[in-house]
Amino acid sequence: MKNIKYASILIAFAVCGVLLSTKLAHAYLDPGTGSAILQGLIAAIAAVGIVVKLYWHRILRLLGLKKENPPSINMKSKEDK
């Protein structure tokens, strides 16, 4: 029960923090408050995932789990191929 309580407080703080550090959008389409907030939450998690993915080999080397040189990551999008 205590854990759930702490988790709820943490989530509430995260949402409040995010709401206070905001940008105002000027779209002709209403993005919907709930949709925008959900995006922020998913994006925060996804951004961490992408950074981890980009630096995966470096992280492995830092942890001493991989020794050889990492293969070069092709950052170019399909359109440039």
Partner: protein
């Protein structure tokens, strides 16, 4: 004189007909003048349009065949506030998401995500993600709204995220996980299927699908939580949380994976072995094909609609002659198979679509004119109605006179098959019901159709009692409509 009055004067003087679906976005609008479709770019969109062109985004999208190309036109004025007038390439037939098969909607969804991804690489973003921004151009999905792009500001959420989920993810997940015919909900909900409705209809097991759990179920709950709280409606709380570019790309990746994984699981029927059971021989079938081909050559139509086209066997007679052909069928599986074959064979002139002829697509949306009815998208130069009349006449109790009226509204020439009552296909329809169709005869069929059409050719299919007609609509009737 106010700008609105000035615009009205110019519109009348220059014979500018604004398209009824083109009114929401202040960036511009689509209009017709002297039978040609143009898109006006308003001054307010100037900065974004210039960036679309100068950043190279437009060129990339055109080179990859993802967006409809246009030409900038100088000799057409447009209305007040015009920055540019564009003439986009002509789309042969405008279709709507509630008429698409599962894979057509899925391809349109993946196209939209791909475009958003490329746009981000050019510091632009899609400001809307409506399924109506996609059309089929040479049988492939293509983005048609040139004014959907705006300059991207790092940190901004994707304004079109909710719309994308409602227009694409919701119907696709319902079609894949619940029932294939649920795409029809798109005709009821013009701005996509509401996520709370989708969430309530989807099986509980979809909560274990991370993509559907996040973008449909939790999304629906978040919408509800923030719309029902009064304090969320003030300016401060309407501000949106920052979404980093990497985070946004992550969301696009997630949506793409979720949609790619959605498969339509068919039961019973095998792909590739699907064609309506025929009760006549291979030689009769070939003879029927030959007659249809001959009639199409005589009619020389600019476009063909095949009504009840099944998997498109007869539609392909026309489309293989490079005649833009739409193959309509009520059966989602037949349309799906047809579309897959179009992709596999890289066909360019065939568009398979879903249509229930007993309840055809009506005019929908604002003023009942945002989405055109099937009649408004016609008439077709030529219609194929093969092995169809008995379904409408007997299964749906439509008298021949009503059928004749219907066809006269939607085509100029008609290739129609009449199947006599003693044919085993009709006997099968009558097996479980009383035969109340005393007027169902070849003589009455011809009499009813001759009210609106001249019979140019009539030929029996060898080895069967079936008869094929080539009919031409009478001129005086064409003036009436």
């Amino acid at each position: 004189m106010s700008e609105i009055i000035k615009d009205l004067h110019t519109a009348v003087k220059e014979k500018i007909l604004k398209q009824p679906a083109s009114f929401r976005d202040p960036s511009g609008f689509v209009f017709e003048q002297n039978g040609i479709l143009y898109r006006q770019v308003n001054q307010v969109y100037r900065e974004h349009y210039d960036h679309l062109i100068n950043s190279g985004l437009y060129d990339v999208l055109i080179q990859r065949g993802l967006m409809v190309p246009h030409q900038e036109i100088n000799n057409v004025k447009g209305l007040n506030d015009a920055y540019k007038i564009l003439e986009p390439s002509h789309i042969n037939f405008i279709s709507y998401p509630y008429e698409w098969s599962f894979s057509q909607l899925k391809d349109a969804a993946l196209l939209t995500l791909e475009i958003q991804r490329i746009a981000l690489n050019h510091h632009m973003t899609l400001k809307d993600a409506s399924a109506y921004n996609v059309q089929f151009f040479f049988s492939r999905p293509i983005f048609i709204d040139t004014l959907s792009f705006e300059k991207y500001q790092e940190g901004q959420p994707w304004a079109a995220y909710r719309q994308f989920c409602q227009h694409f993810l919701a119907p696709l997940s319902l079609m894949a996980q619940k029932n294939i015919s649920l795409n029809k909900l798109l005709a009821v909900h013009i701005d996509g299927i509401p996520l709370d409705l989708t969430s309530s209809l989807l099986p509980r097991s979809t909560w274990f699908n991370v993509g559907l759990a996040l973008h449909v179920h939790i999304h629906a709950k978040t919408q509800k939580a923030f719309s029902s709280t009064d304090h969320m409606n003030n300016d401060k709380t309407r501000r949106q949380m920052p979404v980093s570019k990497n985070g946004l790309i992550g969301i696009l990746d997630g949506l793409q994976k979720t949609i790619t994984k959605l498969k339509w699981k068919t039961t019973g029927t095998e792909w590739g072995e699907y064609y309506g059971v025929t009760n006549y021989s291979e030689s009769a079938f070939q003879h029927k094909k030959n007659i249809v081909e001959k009639y199409i050559e005589i009619a020389t139509p600019r476009n063909v609609w095949d009504l009840g086209g099944n998997v498109g066997v007869f539609s392909r007679i026309a489309s293989n002659m490079n005649i833009p052909t739409v193959s309509f069928d009520i059966d989602p599986l037949a349309v799906e198979i047809n579309y897959r074959e179009v992709l596999e064979k890289k066909e360019k002139f065939l568009l398979p679509l879903l249509l229930d002829l007993t309840n055809p697509s009506p005019g929908l949306g604002w003023n009942c004119s945002e989405r055109s009815s099937i009649f408004q998208r016609g008439p077709a130069d030529c219609i194929l109605a093969l092995a169809l009349i008995h379904h409408l006449s007997i299964s749906n109790n439509v008298p021949f006179e009503n059928l004749s009226d219907f066809f006269s509204k939607i085509c100029k020439s008609l290739i129609v098959e009449f199947i006599p009552k003693d044919d085993s296909q009709i006997q099968r329809l009558l097996r479980s019901r009383k035969d109340i169709f005393v007027d169902y005869s070849q003589k009455n069929f011809e009499a009813a159709f001759m009210r609106h059409f001249n019979i140019k050719h009539a030929e029996s299919i060898s080895g069967s009692a079936r008869r094929l007609y080539l009919m031409q609509k009478k001129e005086e009737i064409s003036e009436k409509y």
